[in-house]
Assembly symmetry: C2
Homo-oligomer: 122 residues x 2
């Protein structure tokens, strides 16, 4: 069982790295080998492991022009923490600039993120 | 397993009721008999069942003057949804008006809320 204090430290570091646009670094530093990355979209399977999660991130970046990202939080409870992430982006498919909001819920075990789950309008 | 569509309907109704200040009604409507209500504060036990959750809400209202509440969301994933709740309040203990933010994570089963978990700076 991960201590709430450890969770708080990891939460603060992840929020810092995402604010700096260093998502890759956050992944390398904290993703567990058995990570589950869970989207709200029904047509996305659960991604298992860092390689699948990284590929999903690369798909996102290849298909969206991201103008700005706002990261709020973290908010903590036990071995879990949450962030609110607001993207100002243009999907290449539509070409229409829009705002995309999500809540990200992370579960920590032994100093690593074992699950990340994204909540949004799906 | 609760369907994402059901979860979305319940999420929208809960968000509506909380925005209207009808927290009691949301509880009566959706809290399961075996509800677990989980605070981030270490000195709070997990509250089990609607009566314990209601007593916790009554303690909160008796010990805080709430000036305004902002409810954002819902954001959904599978059988869970999240809200961001921002309180403008004065704790009677300190008398100092402040902003208190939390992310609320709800788990739905068979049309009822079986778990609510609150994330904040604890």
């Amino acid at each position: 069982m991960t201590d709430q204090a450890d969770t708080r430290d990891i939460a603060a570091d992840v929020a810092f790295l995402l604010r700096e646009g260093r998502d890759d670094e956050a992944g390398r530093k904290y993703w567990a080998e058995d990570l589950k990355s869970i989207e709200a979209r029904r047509d996305w399977p659960v991604s298992v492991g860092p390689e699948a999660a990284r590929a999903k991130g690369e798909w996102f970046m290849a298909n969206h022009e991201v103008h700005d990202v706002k990261v709020e939080g973290p908010w903590v409870n036990g071995d879990q923490f949450t962030l609110r992430i607001t993207y100002d982006l243009t999907p290449l498919e539509t070409g229409v600039r829009t705002t995309f909001e999500e809540i990200a819920l992370y579960t920590v075990r032994d100093g690593q993120i074992v699950e990340e789950k994204f909540f949004y309008d799906a």
